[in-house]
């Protein structure tokens, strides 16, 4: 690994500084700032100009794409099936509800997930972490939410893996989620983390959410009632989509 990378101590120090600056600002910020230097890849990939507000009730972004039965297959929500054998690792169930800011369920919308295997390796050619690939695990899944906004996946717990942000950088175990609401403005891509993971405080991507309460909303809850006997450990994680919901009914005209 090149020696010009910062150390974990240096990155942790920067994370602390960012947290203190946020606390001192007195503001409440639910999302990470796009300019977050401890996550080095953000340096050249965030705009320096402020976002331009669009307050137009006729904006096309207040409607959004829809998905249906043809966009998923029934087995897509079970990442442990569909291969020649069972994947290695700890079987888990991840379930929860997708809601909008008003607390209404987001029904019939697409939820997509992707993750590393139990050893911390993605089935992706650019992942150079020398942990074994699992021939029985692709790590991708999708489903549509039901009428109550519920989703449910069966998978294996992803492993932690090293990355090149700094020396000693390890991503905590996480599952990537992609979500759609009733409007394009509600689009969300995020990551779900596991409770009690000792790597959480060291990770600049999670810590980019400088508000501790907001950060806690990225960590699933272990739910023993979901841990069905001899099958899978249960985690519960509800998701709330930000941004305005659709302002008109589907297919309606101005």
């Amino acid at each position: 690994m090149p020696s010009n990378l910062p150390t974990q101590q240096g990155i942790s120090c920067e994370i602390d500084q960012q947290a203190k600056a946020y606390a001192a600002s007195g503001a409440v910020r639910h999302h990470p700032p796009r300019d977050y230097p401890p996550y080095r890849s953000s340096l050249l990939r965030h705009p320096r100009q402020p976002l331009v507000p669009v307050r137009d009730p006729e904006a096309a972004e207040l409607s959004g794409p829809v998905f249906g039965a043809t966009d998923v297959t029934e087995s897509d929500a079970d990442l442990t099936r569909g291969q020649a054998g069972e994947p290695l690792g700890e079987r888990i169930t991840v379930t929860g509800r997708v809601l909008d800011r008003a607390g209404r369920p987001v029904a019939g919308q697409l939820v997509e997930i992707w993750q590393a295997n139990a050893c911390g390796r993605y089935a992706h050619r650019r992942d150079r972490h020398p942990a074994p690939l699992d021939p029985h695990f692709t790590g991708t899944g999708r489903c549509l939410t039901d009428r109550q906004g519920r989703y449910c996946f069966t998978t294996v717990k992803p492993g932690a893996y090293p990355w090149h942000n700094h020396t000693g950088a390890w991503r905590p175990s996480h599952i990537h989620f992609s979500l759609f609401g009733t409007a394009f403005t509600q689009r969300l891509v995020t990551q779900m983390y596991f409770p009690g993971d000792p790597l959480l405080p060291y990770d600049p991507i999670l810590q980019s959410v400088t508000d501790a309460t907001a950060r806690s909303r990225l960590v699933a809850a272990y739910d023993h009632d979901l841990s069905t006997a001899g099958d899978a450990l249960g985690y519960r994680w509800d998701i709330v989509l930000d941004g305005p919901a659709a302002t008109r009914t589907e297919g309606s005209r101005p």
């Binding site: 999302h31 100009q49 669009v54 096309a60 297959t73 992707w114 005209r253």
Partner: protein, 185 residues
């Protein structure tokens, strides 16, 4: 009490097996006579191509309807793989990953009722997606917020004609000619 939002996190570098589909860029039904092409490059603050950006496009149908239609990401229940679009339905939604040159191509139909395509940008290094718009009207836009922008900023939202039915739209995440990104909250 209304629930608080789930924070955004970066899409990271490894979404490639989960999100893109081989014909995600073919929003226009096959062989449609009104099809247009929008293409361009995504670049970072150093002017380097961004080879791992994911762009999503959303738009009304040519008749102005905004309901969209399922079928942008059809799956094959026999193989578990991609089934592709049905070639007839206009879903209004496109999804394209940039290539090693930071380049993307979208084939679609002209939007009805509005002069723009909505664009959502995801990338490794980008902790929260960015919205922008690709205006197809050659600068004839009446929206007050757009008219109020300095000309060089406004220009980043306007596609450039490149021959019949081909429009160029580059995205610069930072720095010189930085794209105007939008907030809807």
């Amino acid at each position: 009490m209304s629930p608080l939002p789930t924070p955004s996190q970066t899409v990271g570098p490894f979404y490639g097996c989960a999100l893109p589909s081989p014909d995600g860029h073919r929003v226009a039904p096959a062989g449609h006579p009104q099809a247009i092409t929008v293409h361009g490059y995504v670049r970072d603050g150093a002017g380097s191509p961004v080879p791992d950006a994911l762009l999503e496009f959303w738009q009304p149908a040519p008749d102005g309807s905004r309901g969209g239609a399922p079928g942008s990401l059809r799956r094959d229940p026999a193989t578990g793989g991609h089934a592709g679009r049905d070639g007839v339905t206009f879903t209004g939604f496109g999804r394209v990953a940039t290539d090693a040159d930071g380049h993307y191509v979208l084939h679609t139909l002209p939007p009805g009722g509005v002069p723009y395509l909505s664009v959502c940008v995801f990338a490794r290094g980008l902790l929260h997606h960015l919205f922008t718009r690709a205006y197809l009207t050659g600068g004839q836009v009446a929206e007050p917020w757009l008219a109020a922008l300095p000309a060089e900023r406004r220009a980043t939202l306007l596609t450039r004609p490149e021959g019949a039915g081909v429009h160029r739209f580059d995205i610069r995440l930072q720095g010189e000619k930085e794209t105007v990104f939008l907030a809807f909250d």
